[in-house]
């Protein structure tokens, strides 16, 4: 009986941890997406000064998010996003708005892929 209680407790902790990590992933992922969307608007409005500042902020935000995601996700899946996010501030600083737009688009796709891969959908499970 003691073993069963321990096992059920661990199971409950695991289920709780799964729900927590999933909601954490969802929340942080959404925050990243919102920031990318905001940056895309800045690109469209040609607000260069603000764009440089916000690109740095996005990179910083990604590093924080990556630190969290690394705990429960393969880190090699996150590396391409880190590289793309690292390119943004320099591109914005040198006025290469088109490249910034392209990188943002790439970032959005990569983040979306990671998020959909981690969500328990039928196609991902099987």
């Amino acid at each position: 009986m003691k073993r069963l209680v321990i096992a059920l407790t661990i199971l409950a902790v695991l289920v709780g941890a799964n729900i927590y990590t999933h909601s954490l992933l969802d929340r942080t992922g959404m925050e990243m997406m919102e920031q990318i969307e905001y940056l895309e608007k800045l690109v469209n409005r040609n607000e260069a000064d603000h764009l440089v500042q916000q690109c740095g902020a996005l990179q910083q935000k990604w590093l924080e998010t990556e630190g969290i995601w690394c705990r429960f996700m393969r880190s090699d899946r996150l590396e391409p996003i880190t590289i793309a996010a690292a390119r943004l501030p320099a591109l914005a600083q040198h006025g290469q708005t088109a490249d910034v737009a392209a990188e943002l688009c790439e970032l959005r796709i990569m983040l979306g892929e990671v998020l959909s891969f981690e969500s328990p959908s039928f196609s991902d499970i099987f």
């Binding site: 073993r3 069963l4 059920l8 661990i10 199971l11 941890a17 705990r71 429960f72 393969r74």
Partner: protein
Amino acid sequence: MLILSIRTLVLYLVIVSGLRLMGKRQLGELQPSELVVTILISNLATLPIEETSVPLLGGVGPILLLVCFEVVVSWISLKSRRARKIISGQPVTVIQDGKIMEDRLRDLRFSLDDLMEELRQNSVFDIRDVEYAVVETNGKLSVHQRYGARPLTPDMIGMPKPGDDCPPPVVVISDGELLAQSLLSCGLKRSWVEKQLRRHNLTLEEVFLMICDRNASYFLLPKEKTGKKAVKKG
């Protein structure tokens, strides 16, 4: 390298704790579901050790999940006969009243060579001596020999039980350490042990092994450095 070492150590601790949680059955004869869990655990453990890109939780989480699931399934099969039948299967009688059940052997994909091998492992070399043989759920063969071929037991010849028959002796001193639980099972006290040691001019630290039974008969083996001989009493 340091990361790998720490990861290996953590996984070792998780697996040992997991196997302890699954209980002693896991370390002995494996049921089909237990075998599956054991194989899966060994595979899951190697992933985070081999690849540092895989988070440690990616190995620990599934291992804990499997272990807990196995404990829950074992509990269910303990409570329900039907569940036990589904999870572990049923024993199959392959020799009944001395007759080999060929169809059952075929169902089990158990060849005659396998059967003979299992019989030999049960110290039965002549198949004619077997009355019943059952393939258990863990794949082992249990054999019931015909009356004439069974080993002689005291009951068969009506031998009376000896008066001093008691449970087997237990270790009460191991490498200079007195094992209180063993002493208790013999119904003896620490003062009795100390008295016996004094009689042989020994201290507790000088004893390598002492075994004792409920009749207070004992065997005392001093450590080599004392230069004293072993003592047997009773």
